[in-house]
């Protein structure tokens, strides 16, 4: 009787130990050292939506209901969808131009191509991966459609083919991977008429961004969105207004996979805890399974 009670407590103790979050120090970033990226200068964007058009063509997406040169779509705040991997939104700056017309800010959004992406860490089959060239790549042949990547993404970017009953895909910016492999910048960066999108190595882009912030401090707020957000992203932004007023989400600076991966590996590395638990339970079974003394359980 005493042994079994002790056994029960040991069982509780062992299981509790199994689920303790471990210190995050053991976690190592898997980010590529100097990936490609894009620097978006929000102050340069004129909201022409040519980037949306280029994206549509390169990725062979269906033709949109409203033409790309129709500015009326800017009246509503849009999110990337399964048929539009990048969208431009308009935000009021409160400033007026020489003819007393309000001057808007235009913000292009798409997958940020995180350095340590939450979606890649979450993906059950590894259908999502971070490539050396910076792309967060989606391999549909591995995807089962669990949508955990969408749950995990802190920028709330991936979209889904909800109306395809059997072969839906997760949809997001591809970084025009095929073009990247040919040494060409992504479609949106190539077409941008105002050079609001600069393509290059992430380190170089950070230097360019810092230089612009230093040279015209009045034009920019002192923040490079994506330098530290979510542990750093391949896409970077500089802007003339605080980022929270431009629809950017406030995202923690630590890489999102850090905590979960630390827990997973501390608990289940080499399957040590299941093995220990199996041993403890096996021992309890041997000790506890003696013939019952026939005593009734307390009520």
């Amino acid at each position: 009787m005493h042994l079994t009670r002790r056994g029960f407590l040991a069982f509780l103790g062992a299981t509790a130990a199994m689920s303790q979050p471990a210190p995050a120090s053991a976690w190592v970033s898997k980010a590529p050292t100097n990936p490609f990226g894009c620097l978006v200068d929000v102050t340069r964007c004129i909201g022409c939506r040519k980037c949306e058009m280029a994206c549509n063509q390169v990725n062979h997406l269906p033709e949109p209901k409203t033409r790309f040169d129709d500015p009326c779509v800017l009246n509503t705040k849009r999110r990337p969808t399964n048929t539009a991997y990048t969208v431009v939104n308009s935000y009021s700056t409160g400033k007026l131009d020489t003819q007393s017309k309000p001057v808007p800010s235009f913000v292009k959004i798409q997958c940020m191509h995180c350095q340590d992406p939450a979606c890649v860490s979450a993906c059950i089959t590894g259908a999502l991966s971070k490539l050396e060239n910076g792309t967060v790549h989606y391999d549909v042949s591995r995807c089962i459609g669990c949508r955990y990547c969408m749950v995990a993404c802190p920028f709330e970017i991936p979209a889904y083919d909800y109306h395809d009953p059997l072969t839906p895909q997760v949809r997001k910016c591809t970084f025009c991977l095929d073009r990247l492999k040919e040494g060409k910048p992504p479609g949106c960066a190539s077409i941008c008429p105002t050079e609001a999108i600069t393509f290059g190595r992430r380190d170089t882009l950070l230097e360019v961004a810092r230089k612009r912030l230093a040279e015209s401090p009045g034009r920019y707020v002192d923040h490079i969105y994506g330098e530290h957000e979510a542990g750093g992203t391949s896409w970077l932004y500089i802007a003339g207004q605080p980022f929270d007023r431009l629809g950017f989400l406030d995202v923690p600076n630590s890489p999102l996979p850090q905590r979960t991966e630390s827990i997973q590996h501390a608990l289940f590395g080499y399957l040590w805890s299941p093995a220990v638990l199996f041993g403890v339970l096996g021992l309890s079974m041997k000790l506890g399974n003696r013939p019952d003394k026939g005593g009734k359980e307390k009520v």
Partner: protein, 388 residues
């Protein structure tokens, strides 16, 4: 007092069973709409809220509420409390059916159902979901292996292969019993790890790095209350003795397990400085308070009274509250508290999602009835014998 477990010879086609079949048919139609129109047609899921009722109830709650299986197995088979053998078989059956329908829920929810086998080929060891999937898959197998002796007891002599399987597996049954407990501890906690990766989306009332521990502790504490609820319903519906001489002592363990869960949950909330948020009056905070008090604190205090533990009706109410509390916790974490900032409107389930979930629950109850009618699962005496 128990007799041997035996098939229960009550009339099968009762009004209750017909109602279940009605729900199953409606669920089947909803399922058809999901596989013709897609998830977008049958559900209210969006890009911002990609998980809904099916993950919150069919999967997450299903796993938690099937915890009666491993907790009773641990008690009776591993820690040698043979007095509880009487409830291990029904708890095992519930777990086997419950987990089978967890797998079914996943199958329906994932966009590419036909690709459900792929995690076996392509593994991502960083993914908590991968671990949950592997454990659930293995555990379903283990549960049905544990069911073999029960089915073989009735049909083993008629089907030679079944008898042989029973004798062969019987030698290793202790391995499967322990494995069942180990696998349960692993994936019950890992279900809690799932949303640790989404700190910006889950309400701070529930978001804590201790979610894995809380999920495990709550699963352990809901195990026996679930056994009490299902035993009481089954014995009432089948006109059997209520087995209070097993359920009453069983409920005493819940004082310890539920007490531990609630202590960790409240301490975590206080240490994270989110206690005030619970009383903010928002819909999420109300849902949290119902979960914590009606589903936890109040039934815990009631369990302290031996009068409550001895009363069949009171114990049923208390156990139902605890079951409801853990169910609500899973719904809160995966649905109510999951509030991405880009969601145009909060998610609420579509009629198709509700029908599939109800259909699955009805199918579980229907199959439970089939199994207890055909195989020796229940050992409670018939009411007529008790009164005699």
């Amino acid at each position: 007092m128990h007799t041997q477990a035996r098939p229960i010879g009550r009339p099968f086609w009762t009004p209750g069973v017909l109602v279940m079949i009605g729900f199953m048919a409606a669920g089947g139609l909803a399922l058809l709409s999901r596989y013709t129109g897609g998830l977008g047609f049958a559900t209210n899921l969006t890009d911002a809220t990609p998980w809904g009722l099916w993950i919150g109830i069919d999967v997450a709650s299903g796993v938690a509420l099937a915890a009666g299986g491993f907790t009773t197995a641990a008690l009776a088979h591993i820690f040698g409390r043979h007095a509880y053998e009487a409830v291990t078989r029904p708890a095992l059956l519930t777990a086997a059916l419950g987990y089978t329908f967890v797998a079914f829920g996943v199958f329906v929810d994932i966009g590419r159902s036909w690709a459900i086998w792929k995690p076996m080929l392509y593994q991502n060891y960083n993914s908590a979901l991968f671990e949950v999937a592997m454990c659930v898959m293995t555990y379903v197998t283990v549960l049905w292996i544990e069911m073999v002796p029960i089915v073989a007891e009735r049909f083993g002599s008629r089907f030679r292969l079944l008898g042989w399987l029973d004798r062969t597996l019987g030698k290793f049954m202790w391995v499967f019993i322990i494995l069942g407990v180990v696998l349960s501890c692993m994936h019950q906690s890992s279900l809690g790890t799932l949303l640790v990766i989404a700190p910006t989306k889950l309400d701070p009332l529930w978001y804590t790095p201790f979610m894995p521990l809380l999920f495990l502790l709550s699963a352990i504490s809901v195990g026996y209350p679930m056994v009490i609820v299902e035993t009481t319903i089954a014995t009432t519906s089948l006109k059997l003795d209520g087995e209070m001489e097993v359920l009453t002592p069983l409920s005493r363990f819940t004082i310890l397990t539920l007490g531990l869960y609630l202590a960790v949950k409240i301490a975590d909330l206080v240490m994270r400085g989110q206690l005030g948020r619970a009383f903010a009056g928002s819909p999420a905070s109300l849902s949290f308070l119902v979960e914590l008090f009606i589903g936890g604190v109040v039934p815990w205090f009631m369990l302290l009274s031996s009068k409550v533990r001895r009363s069949r009706r009171a114990l049923f109410v208390v156990a139902s509250c605890i079951v409801g509390g853990v169910l609500l916790n899973r719904i809160n974490v995966f649905v109510v508290g999951f509030s991405p900032r880009t969601a145009a409107h909060p998610y609420s389930p579509a009629i198709g999602e509700i029908l599939v979930t109800l259909g699955a629950a009805a199918t579980i109850m229907f199959l439970y009835r089939v199994f207890v009618s055909l195989t020796p699962v229940l050992s409670a005496r018939n009411m007529e014998e008790v009164s005699r």
